[in-house]
């Protein structure tokens, strides 16, 4: 297992190198002189030269690339043009806001989606199965911005149960430790604010969970149905095991691999910043951060954001691959 994990991790190196080259070359894809684009039409020659020097654009491209990778390896993502501060420290709270939202959304999606899929397969062609699969179909086809707006209209405007936007009330003061505010307020024993944070999380996380939940439910169901017709399930029944054990032990473990794949991909997508959801719910996440950077043509921030999201995606896939091997002993040998 360990040697498989190490081998699989080393296979990431070429991927990461490729990614850094792609992200690095973004600056060259800008039509015209990047410094000119950044500064706008009325920039003077001196200021352009200054920005060029600041970005290292006066150096040959390979030196620029090695400088870039060198500083990346030291955790330096460069400096934002807009705020003039280090991107690595600036991006962190945004990233954590997205992580918090994603984790909560994926927990909802996995718990509800997997169980709905299991029960649909177990009682397949029953009314539960039909109802669950109709909801799943609606879930995948629902435009997320519409769902978000409806949630806000019903639960904030009409019923006034939950706040409609933001991460916390304007009056709330939070001492960030991890920037995952649910955890921060909890470990500080600040339960009034903890509750406030949780209330702000509910609507966006449900909006964000809907599509993955529906996909997970459908994949789980079809994968379970296939497994439940197999010979070893018949053996498990012939042993006298209860339905619950047959389904949750013998069938689930065998059908979980396609489900894991989907969970990994969906988590990666959500961590990439669900720009629509974050915009509708005023969530200060990485999607919003990047969106603002694109508007301001803040190229170093755009580069760093893309690099970060891509790296997270790659590592989630690594984790999924390692989980495959942990679940299925036959995988290591291939």
């Amino acid at each position: 297992m360990l040697s498989y994990a190490i081998r699989r991790t080393f296979m990431l190196i070429p991927v990461l190198i490729g990614m850094s080259i792609l992200v690095f070359s973004i600056i060259y894809l800008i039509p015209g002189n990047p410094a000119q684009v950044i500064l706008g039409q009325r920039a003077t020659a001196e200021s352009i030269a200054e920005v060029e020097q600041q970005l290292g654009l006066d150096q040959p491209w390979y030196i620029q690339y090695f400088d870039y990778v060198g500083s990346l390896l030291q955790g330096d993502l460069g400096t934002s043009i807009k705020t003039k501060s280090a991107i690595s420290s600036e991006i962190f709270p945004y990233l954590m806001a997205t992580v918090e939202l994603t984790v909560v959304a994926m927990i909802i999606a996995i718990v509800v989606g997997v169980n709905a899929g299991i029960i649909s397969a177990w009682l397949h062609n029953s009314w539960f199965d039909y109802v669950a699969m109709i909801f799943a179909l609606i879930g995948v086809s629902m435009p997320i911005f519409w769902l978000g707006l409806m949630e806000q209209y019903i639960f904030s405007v009409q019923l006034d149960w939950l706040p409609s936007t933001g991460r916390y009330d304007a009056s709330t003061v939070i001492e960030p430790v991890t920037h995952l505010y649910v955890i921060d307020t909890f470990i500080q024993g600040d339960f009034a604010h903890f509750w406030d944070i949780v209330k702000h999380l509910i609507l966006p996380s449900i909006a964000l969970a809907t599509i993955p939940m529906a996909i997970i439910a459908r994949i789980t169901r079809s994968s379970m149905l296939e497994v439940m017709n197999s010979n070893y399930i018949r053996t498990a029944r012939a042993k006298g095991l209860s339905n619950f054990w047959v389904v949750y032990k013998h069938s689930l473990k065998n059908s979980v691999i396609p489900v894991l794949t989907i969970i990994g991909l969906q988590t990666g997508l959500l961590l990439g910043g669900a720009i629509l959801t974050e915009t509708i719910f005023g969530w200060p996440g990485i999607g919003r951060y990047l969106y603002d950077a694109i508007n301001y043509r803040d190229y170093p921030v755009i580069q760093s954001g893309i690099l970060l999201i891509a790296t997270i995606f790659v590592f989630i896939n690594l984790i999924v691959d390692l989980l495959y091997a942990a679940i299925d002993p036959r995988i290591k040998y291939h």
């Binding site: 010979n231 053996t235 029944r237 042993k239 006298g240 095991l241 013998h250 473990k253 002993p329």
Partner: protein, 333 residues
């Protein structure tokens, strides 16, 4: 009282094309310590019979329509799921045709064996483990302790079938149902598995219902034989009589189509035609369209079961109308 007594069992599958009677009014019994062979071509209802006994007929679409299955005097047909669960794997165990896919690929052998014991016995983990190792040794597997930590894919087909047998025998079942246990194995392993089953039958006094299409297997291990055709039992007698004096034209055809190492015929005999689709023959003897001795009567009436000679030898064929009295009329489907 026999260990298992089946009377008038009907199991049907209800599909979009209508009802398909897979097993149609069958009667047989298994005595204590006996090996009963159930023989027939594919699709004649052998496996459905065994799944009916286990209460594992896939439902829907399958359903036991009528009849009775008495196991040690207890009725299984209307038993609750909970009652059936306590019998499955404990009193009645089953092994299947496909050893390659019958074990769960993601759990260790030991885990799967211990789970089978814990379902029925309230034993400590250690005791379950010792019992599992003991059974692995009994079925002739080497290095039983290390096998407990192996996954199914690390074992050969023959070894997996031995593990399946060990798993079935863990709780000392009274009845072992073996559904084509040797079909997927090569001949030398087949022989070993059959000898193992015979040994377990002798030492542990387990009755065995051996389902097979291979008459060689029957001759090797069985005490009595039931011959099935298209969901009905056509002949039932002890093993020696069946091979020496088969009565039903279908049985005769089956025996004639076994290659004989001493005969010089170029062409092997085969029964003309194919097994009818279940439910397609509504009237008369189901074998009549393929039978060389069929009379007019055979196409219009369902033959009853005739008991012949002094030995219990039952046959469902009008040819024996004069030899014995019909035991009972069975309903025409």
């Amino acid at each position: 009282m026999p260990l298992l007594q089946i009377e008038g069992l009907c199991t049907s599958f209800f599909t979009d094309e209508g009802e398909i009677p897979a097993v149609d009014h069958i009667d047989f019994h298994i005595n204590n310590g006996e090996i009963l062979g159930v023989v027939g071509e594919s699709g004649c209802g052998k496996s459905v019979t065994s799944l009916s006994i286990m209460g594992l007929v896939p439902s829907p679409p399958g359903k036991i329509k009528s009849g009775s299955i008495l196991f040690q005097g207890e009725e299984l047909v209307d038993a609750s799921e909970q009652q059936m669960r306590s019998i499955r794997g404990d009193e009645i165990a089953m092994i299947f045709q496909e050893p390659m896919t019958s074990l769960n690929p993601l759990f260790k052998i030991g885990n799967q064996l211990i789970e089978a014991i814990r379902t029925h016995r309230n034993w400590k983990h250690k005791k379950c483990k010792l019992r599992a190792i003991e059974m692995l040794k009994l079925v002739g597997l080497p290095r039983a302790e290390s096998l407990m930590n192996a996954y199914p894919h690390e074992l050969s087909g023959g070894m997996r079938q031995r593990v399946m047998i060990a798993m079935a025998m863990l709780c000392d079942p009274k009845l072992l149902i073996a559904d084509e246990p040797t079909t997927a194995l090569d001949v030398t392993i087949q022989k070993q598995i059959l000898q193992l089953m015979k040994k377990l039958n002798k030492t542990m006094e387990t009755s065995i219902m051996l389902i097979t299409h291979d008459l060689g297997v029957v001759a090797e291990v069985c005490d009595r034989v039931v011959v099935m055709y298209a969901g009905k039992i056509v002949e039932q007698t002890d093993c020696v009589t069946l091979f020496q004096n088969p009565k039903h034209p279908y049985t005769k055809g089956l025996l004639a189509s076994v290659p004989n190492i001493r005969s010089k015929t170029d062409r092997l005999y085969s029964i003309p035609g194919n097994v009818p689709k279940p439910g397609s023959i509504q009237q008369g003897c189901r074998f009549a369209p393929r039978c060389e001795l069929a009379m007019d009567q055979c196409f219009t009436e369902t033959p009853p079961i005739y008991e012949t000679e002094e030995k219990p030898h039952e046959v469902r064929c009008f040819l024996y109308d004069k030899e014995g009295e019909p035991r009972h009329e069975t309903t025409v489907t």
